[in-house]
């Protein structure tokens, strides 16, 4: 398969994740969307690395995965804390920054 095929697949996953981030009411649901988007990025990185014959992209994929896991752990911790303080996991209710 060509590089374009892999990039198109990654783009599709990315856009689905984006859609989830924009639409989900639940904060955990939003986090899931973010995970999807990051995955799409990883696919991109690996595909470019392999088609370009350069190992750097693969190394950075390792880094990205680690960072993503950290992000997921922290994000979920924030969700729990948020729930304790505000008694809600619905993103719509979190509007302290409203103008």
């Amino acid at each position: 398969m060509s590089l374009q095929a892999y990039l198109t697949l990654a783009a599709a996953v990315f856009c689905i994740g984006l859609f989830g981030v924009m639409t989900r009411r639940n904060t955990i649901g939003i986090l899931l969307g973010i995970e999807l988007m990051l995955n799409a990025v990883n696919i991109n990185l690996v595909a470019f690395a392999r088609f370009g014959g350069d190992v750097t992209g693969l190394i950075f994929t390792v880094f990205t995965i680690c960072i993503t896991v950290s992000e997921a752990a922290l994000g979920l911790a924030i969700v729990i804390l948020l729930f304790r303080v505000r008694r809600t996991v619905t993103a719509d209710h979190l509007d302290l920054l409203r103008g």
Partner: protein, 627 residues
């Protein structure tokens, strides 16, 4: 030893500046009062010594010390420095002398002043001495103008020295604004002159003027504008109204600034630029006529004043008119000579009046009387000053007045000459009126006991030594100048021989003065002539004079109608047009802000939505670029 008059003059100039800087910066020293005073006096004394040396060393040499100041286009637009010649060093000596004596005198006069106030007073005095000397020694119009404004500032500060008094604050503002009106003219004149000649420097201008290289077209306007500055500063009609009010300041200030030095700056300016005015005889005629008219007007006003300082103030205006007339008649040297003698004896008169006020605690002539017996020193020196002012032989003002009258007659100004003769009569009359009312006759004890009471239980007495010494020095110098000039008589030549007055001039002038004295004696001492019937004989004039010839009212009316009306119109425009537009704009901004704040929902997802839409736009743009 330094013998260059320029350097000596520079020392004389910088000592008061040092004093001012020290007193201005070292606040603790200033607040101590007396130490600050003595420091300032010390500097003034050193300045006087340097000035005398400069004068003695100078002779007819001209010494210029210049430092480039305003660089422009590869050259120097203006420099600062000193121009020490015969006139300026002489004037410098007068300024330094009177400044020194007045500062010495003030220690006694202001002994009741709290220490911080005294320190402030001496700070201003030092600044004034420096500014006035910088004016006198100015080598060009720029430095002259700066110093001119500085002395105006000092005048303002010192008139308003007792700023808690509303009248003093008002008088200070009035003096400042009215002299500023003239200064605008001076500034315009200086700039116009520069445009025509390309230089501010007196020396170069003089070479141009005397070489005939100065274009005559428009020069009348320039000299008239410069003269306007002198009108404001030297209290010529119609801008003389500030000087009588300036008497609200402490009396030594009146002696120094508003009699001996600053108000004569206008006369000095015209003397300095005599060669320039010589090119415009029509402006000189205006100067002469206005000078003579001012002299008469002020003399009439002086006759009806009951405040001893106001009499002296109007007398100063009158004498300034004399000097201006001499300059207008083309003999600036005579005017300058009178400036110097007048500086001596008018400072003496003011300081004498200060001594009287110090003793009686009132400015009002009706509260004085019979003081000659109680204050013999003051009475004698005041009499010397009065005789000098009246122009009696062997006294200070005699020869200078003769010179002026001779010059005006010889210049063909018959009208001003007659006016000046009337003024001579009036001068003698009103000054001796003061003398007889204050120093002779019955003492007005009722007032003294009533107001002074227990605090000054004793009778009025002569002032302390620190005040008496300056009085005697000035009296001695007035007499000395008078005697030497009278004896030397015709040997002193202040101009070409053909400009000397005719032989009948001297006897008639002295006769007129003696007639004035006699009239005052008959009216106020012998009471042969009833003062009220004399007043009745001049009823309308007296009424007009009491109303100050309505000049102040005209200014005030002009201010009310013109300036206030204009201010109201401008205020309306500001309040309704300018503010209206701004208010509309701000209201619009507020509404718009209210409308768009809804965009900030505070929900993170909405922002993500916005980011996604932004990404979309970016991609569309990329597509468009690629296409």
């Amino acid at each position: 030893m330094m013998t260059d008059p320029g350097l000596l003059a520079l020392v004389a100039l910088l000592l008061p500046a040092l004093s001012f800087l020290v007193l201005a910066v070292a606040a603790p020293l200033r607040r101590l009062g007396r130490p600050a005073a003595w420091f300032s006096i010390l500097c003034a004394g050193g300045s006087l010594a340097a000035a005398v040396q400069a004068w003695a060393a100078g002779g007819d040499d001209v010494s210029r010390l210049l430092w480039a100041w305003l660089p422009a286009g590869g050259g120097t637009l203006a420099s600062v420095g000193v121009l020490a010649d015969a006139d300026s060093t002489l004037m410098l000596t007068l300024v330094a002398l009177v400044a020194f004596l007045v500062q010495l005198y003030s220690v006694g006069y202001l002994s009741d002043e709290p220490p911080p106030g005294l320190g402030r007073y001496y700070t201003y005095q030092s600044l004034f001495a420096f500014s006035m000397m910088a004016l006198v020694l100015a080598p060009n119009f720029v430095q002259l103008f700066i110093a001119w404004e500085l002395v105006g500032l000092c005048s303002y500060l010192l008139i308003g020295f007792w700023y808690q008094k509303p009248e003093a604050a008002r008088a200070a503002t009035k003096a400042f604004w009215i002299t500023k009106a003239g200064d605008v003219g001076l500034l315009i004149g200086i700039v116009l002159l520069w445009r025509q000649s390309g230089t501010f420097d007196f020396f170069e201008l003089r070479l141009l003027a005397e070489g005939g290289a100065l274009p005559l077209a428009g020069l009348s306007l320039i000299t008239f504008c410069i003269y306007l500055g002198a009108v404001g500063k030297s209290a010529q009609f119609p801008l003389h109204v500030w000087l009588p009010d300036a008497m609200e300041g402490p009396t030594p200030v009146s002696a120094l600034i508003h009699a001996a030095t600053m108000v004569t700056a206008g006369v000095y300016l015209l003397t300095r630029t005599e060669w320039l005015f010589a090119l415009t005889p029509e402006v000189l005629a205006v100067v002469a006529w206005i000078g003579a008219f001012t002299a008469l007007l002020a003399a009439v006003l002086a006759c009806v004043q009951d405040d001893i300082k106001r009499v002296l103030a109007y007398s100063t205006v009158s004498q300034l008119g004399y000097m201006m007339t001499a300059i207008g008649a083309g003999l600036a040297a005579a005017g300058f000579f009178h400036l110097l003698t007048h500086g001596l004896f008018k400072a003496l008169l003011f300081l004498g009046a200060g001594a009287v006020i110090h003793a009686v605690h009132s400015n009002d002539l009706s509260h004085m009387g019979g003081l000659a017996r109680r204050m013999p020193h003051t009475a004698i020196v005041f009499l010397v000053g009065t005789l000098s002012l009246a122009g009696i032989p062997f006294f200070g003002g005699f020869l200078s007045k003769e010179e002026i009258l001779g010059a005006v007659w010889a210049g063909g100004f018959v009208g001003p000459f007659l006016l000046l003769m009337v003024v001579a009569l009036l001068t003698a009359f009103y000054m001796f009126r003061v003398v007889f009312l204050a120093f002779f006759g019955e003492p007005a004890t009722a007032h003294i006991t009533a107001t002074v009471g227990a605090a000054h239980a004793g009778h009025p007495h002569d002032p302390p030594a620190s005040m008496r010494v300056p009085l005697w020095i000035l009296a001695a110098m007035s007499l000395g100048v008078g005697i030497s000039s009278t004896m030397a008589g015709q040997m002193l030549q202040f101009g070409p021989a053909e400009r000397e007055g005719p032989a009948w001039l001297m006897p008639s002038a002295v006769g007129v003065a003696l007639a004035g004295i006699l009239l005052a004696w008959l009216t106020y001492q012998r009471r042969t002539i009833d003062a009220s019937s004399l007043a009745a004989a001049f009823g309308p004039i007296r009424r007009a004079a009491l109303a100050r010839f309505w000049i102040d009212d005209i200014f005030e009316g002009g201010y009310r109608v013109g300036l206030l009306g204009f201010s109201r119109a401008v205020g309306w425009v500001d309040r309704y047009l300018v503010d209206g537009v701004l208010n509309a704009l701000s209201a619009w901004t507020l509404t718009a802000g209210d409308d768009v704040r809804g965009m900030q929902t505070g929900r993170a997802q909405d922002y993500v939505y916005g980011v996604a839409v932004g990404l979309l736009v970016l991609l569309l743009w990329v597509q468009w670029v690629l296409a």
